[in-house]
């Protein structure tokens, strides 16, 4: 499923060459602009990779009336621009499409980033009809996705200019994390997270909406939601988990997932700390997080390591995909919860 389209500008998103325009820059290509608008309505985000000065991206934003999630302007390789956008937006290579009118650029990106879907503008005109670009029911949260990435760009620009620790920056941003029990009405968004999250996902398995709704009323389970907001924008429901209080004083997190929007913002660490505190308060001796370890959920493993979780070393090397159960003993002092976290 494609989450992001990376557009070339000259003769692709624009109907001409930006730097060759004598008087005024070329207008947007009407067909490509229509495709962009259609995909935006489906929650697909958009980025720019162009061999032009940064003014070209600003012009395109203005001409199209669309704030892009990321813009790479410069004369380096397009594949490097694509990789920087992937890293910046926390996307996997197979979640992006790259559109360029230039055959050489398409070949270069295809070779260097083989997982990406590389398309000509002619292909792209048909793309809204393809399953890769049809994510099924789109929640209100997903429809706001493009705007959220634009908020993220502004947040990152301020972060680069900020002198101080990450914690000080989170406070400066007015970060608010709210952790609380899921309601049945949260099921569609939780289902969507189960489909769309990879970097912070312990199972890699989509969970049906009905199954999630049933879990919210199950006495044997706790379904937890995590909401995130700061002064740049309200990200809404960004994560969740399902917990089973099992025998032997072990709390098992059977599913844990978090949007990559929350990455680098202290949210997954806050959830893990909250889980450890809640489990300890309930008298549990251990918190367990079974995980399908993949090449993609390294960020999840980093958060687990940073929060004091370990898996038995005897289970060998992590890849290719394999199961490992990360545990954290609950004896000793309870982990601190930052004061910007509210337990609802």
């Amino acid at each position: 499923m494609i989450k992001c389209v990376i557009w070339d500008l000259d003769n692709t998103l624009l109907s001409g060459v930006y730097l060759e325009s004598a008087t005024r820059p070329p207008a947007p290509d009407p067909v490509m602009a229509g495709v962009l608008e259609q995909l935006r309505g489906r929650g697909i985000i958009h980025a720019i990779a162009t061999r032009n000065p940064p003014e070209a991206a600003r012009y395109a934003e203005q001409a199209l009336g669309h704030e892009f999630a990321a813009a790479e302007c410069g004369w380096g390789r397009k594949s490097d621009a694509v990789r920087r956008i992937l890293a910046d937006l926390g996307l996997a290579p197979d979640a992006v499409a790259f559109v360029d009118d230039d055959l050489y650029e398409r070949a270069e990106v295809s070779l260097a980033v083989p997982e990406a879907l590389v398309l000509s503008p002619e292909d792209m005109a048909d793309a809204p009809g393809w399953p890769e670009f049809s994510p099924g029911p789109v929640t209100a949260e997903a429809r706001r996705r493009g705007a959220r990435y634009a908020e993220r760009r502004r947040r990152q620009e301020e972060a680069r200019a900020f002198a101080g620790s990450r914690d000080e920056f989170l406070r400066y941003c007015g970060t608010e994390v709210t952790i609380g029990p899921a309601q049945a009405a949260d099921a569609p968004r939780l289902h969507e997270l189960s489909v769309r999250t990879h970097q912070f996902n312990t199972t890699g398995q989509p969970v049906a909406e009905a199954a999630l709704r049933a879990l919210t009323s199950s006495a044997a389970h706790r379904v937890v939601t995590v909401r995130l907001a700061d002064r740049f924008g309200d990200d809404g429901l960004v994560g969740g988990c399902v917990v089973e209080a099992g025998p032997g004083g072990t709390w098992t997190v059977t599913l844990l997932m978090m949007s990559c929007r929350a990455m680098g913002r202290g949210v997954i660490e806050a959830l893990l700390a909250w889980l450890a505190r809640s489990a300890a308060d309930a008298g549990a001796a251990e918190l367990a997080v079974p995980c399908l370890v993949t090449a993609r959920n390294v960020p999840l493993r980093l958060a687990l390591a940073a929060s004091g979780f370990r898996a038995p070393a005897a289970e060998g090397s992590p890849g290719p995909p394999r199961l490992a159960t990360f545990t954290r003993p609950l004896a000793g002092p309870r982990p601190a919860l930052p004061d910007w976290v509210t337990a609802a």
């Binding site: 890293a87 960020p299 940073a306 992590p318 490992a324």
Partner: protein
Amino acid sequence: MTRPLVGDLAEILAQVTGREELRATSAQTPLFGDGVGLDSLSGVLLLREVHRRFGVDVAAEDLNLDALATLAALAAYIHEHAPA
């Protein structure tokens, strides 16, 4: 052998976090927790840069990411696993 590497790694750490003061990170400073406060985002950037510069894919081999305990641990891990 691993000694000069710690300085390179501190440099990379400062780069990926955008925090100049981390250039002075000592070999034995814990990377997780207070101080450096390595998190999922800075951790991924650090691992990616290590993979690119030294050809060692720490995440693929080290399940618990013990190599990220300190810069000394990371330097030793790279030294042991670097392609000949």
